[in-house]
Amino acid sequence: MSAGAIVGVGELAPQRYSAGVTTLSMLATAAIEATHDAGLSRGDIDGLLVGPQVGETPQHVPATVAEYLGLQPTMANVVDLGGATAAGMAWRAAAAIQAGMCQTVLCVLGNINERGRVPRSPNRNPIREFDVPFGASGANTSYAFLAQRHMARYGTTSAQLATAVVAQRENAQLNPKAIFHGTPLTVDDVLNSPFVVEPLRLLEIVMPCAGAAAFIVTSPERARDLRHRPVMISGAGEKITHRAMSQAPSLTSGPLKAAIASAYRQSGTGPADMDMLQLYDCYSIVIALTLEDAGVCPVGESGPWMVENDLTWRGPQPLNTHGGQLSFGQADLAGGMSHIVEAVHQLRHQAGERQIADARTALVTGNGATLSEATALVLQREDV
């Protein structure tokens, strides 16, 4: 069953800092690349999904991006699910196409990262009121709570968490676009990096950078006439449970569990069917929790599992073959799109040196806030 297909992808190489560019210009570069990759042109795009608060504009983002790109979509929307945004865009695009609102949707995300810029949230919400005054600003603290709890409950160790980070870094050595391409990493490197929020260290926390990515969704029927073999969105799931970490239903599992289960159910697949795991990985602990929520390993056993299994591109179920956000780079919300772009490359068998053999099915996850907003996709190479 598929409601939509991904037919084009575009992605800028992440950069530590941007200078002399705007978010809109980076979005445009990624969007044009994705459209051309699909073998389409500007006039074919009649749907547009964007992220919230694009650098140059906090409001009217779809209209601003549409005008900048010279598009006049018949469906446009903001998707505001943090790291879960990209995967959330995929099924929304397919649903809009099924509903007859449009035929071909551009999904695009990106962000500048200027040196010296200090982001400060002007929000007036329960987090600003009840977390920030105590000294808990930003996501690091929340993920540290998750890691500490998992360690306390299951005996998970820092060395186990570091193993996954290192495996992804090894994958990144085969990806020239990865921000840490050419910079291998060992478990000791991770364990010797300074604590940021105990038990989490610097090298298990994502590094902000600049970049953008885009993908194009159209109907499965239209997809078959385009340049590349289509990548079918054969299952999707989504669940949102909370915003503040203090309100999370669980500290050792997340809404990804339900989102992934939905994606499996819709696609008629299960964890053993996945040829690759393209899992949102803003922090090492998120990899561990997602492996458990995806049923790839038993609950509580992700620590030893990550050590015992080869998570690199050589293994039977490679993890984040592009390097993941931790080693490819996380350009704001586009970081969550990198997993989709990589899955498409792998499923088209166009992943170059890091191509895994006979890749047919991928699990892609998105995670927003702190295991708060969850989206999952099962993407499949269409049978001939």
């Binding site: 007036r124 329960p126 600003r128 009121e129 009840f130 977390d131 920030v132 005054p133 105590f134 000294g135 808990a136 600003s137 930003g138 690091n140 603290t141 540290a144 709570f145 998750l146 500490q148 709890r149 306390a152 409950r153 300074p194 604590f195 940021v196 929020v197 105990e198 038990p199 989490l200 503040a244 970490m245 203090s246 309100q247 500290l251």
Partner: protein
């Protein structure tokens, strides 16, 4: 209680709303209050205009015991907000208050104190800038003061 807490005036203050104001007003009098639903009897925190469990709009303020356990914690070496830099490293924790709600707070304890998930804690009022905040300290195993 640390003197470092009271001298940093640039700490981000609480931002009370019309709904949450009673919590912060009580806090300045060193009373730790939370809402309880009149219909389902469950605790509601942070404050709001309705019960998220049953959508009742009848909530009453109760005084909390201020005792609970550590659901999880972290030692913050690099705080996200610059005002806390000189306080670092310090302990942030999720506290399961025995009245039936969880909140994020800071511990007055030294980060090297050997904390564990599940440790019992109790409320202490500490000034942070112009505000009194409900912080927590571990309850010694002998239960003494």
């Amino acid at each position: 209680m640390t003197n470092k807490d009271s001298k940093a005036a640039s700490y981000p203050p609480p931002t009370p709303t019309a709904v949450s104001a009673p919590f912060w007003e009580a806090a300045q009098e060193e009373r730790f209050v939370y809402q309880q639903c009149a219909d389902c009897a469950r605790a509601v925190f942070p404050p709001r205009a309705h019960c998220p469990h049953c959508w009742s709009q009848t909530l009453a303020w109760q005084e909390s015991t201020g005792e609970g356990t550590i659901a999880s914690f972290t030692v913050a070496h690099r705080p996200g907000h610059p005002a806390f830099a000189e306080l670092a490293p310090f302990v942030l924790a999720l506290i399961d208050v025995q009245d039936g709600f969880r909140l994020l707070s800071r511990l007055t304890q030294n980060p090297d104190a050997g904390l564990q998930v599940g440790d019992p804690v109790r409320l202490v009022w500490v000034a942070s800038g112009d505000w009194k905040l409900p912080l927590f300290e571990p309850i010694p195993v002998d239960g003494g003061q």
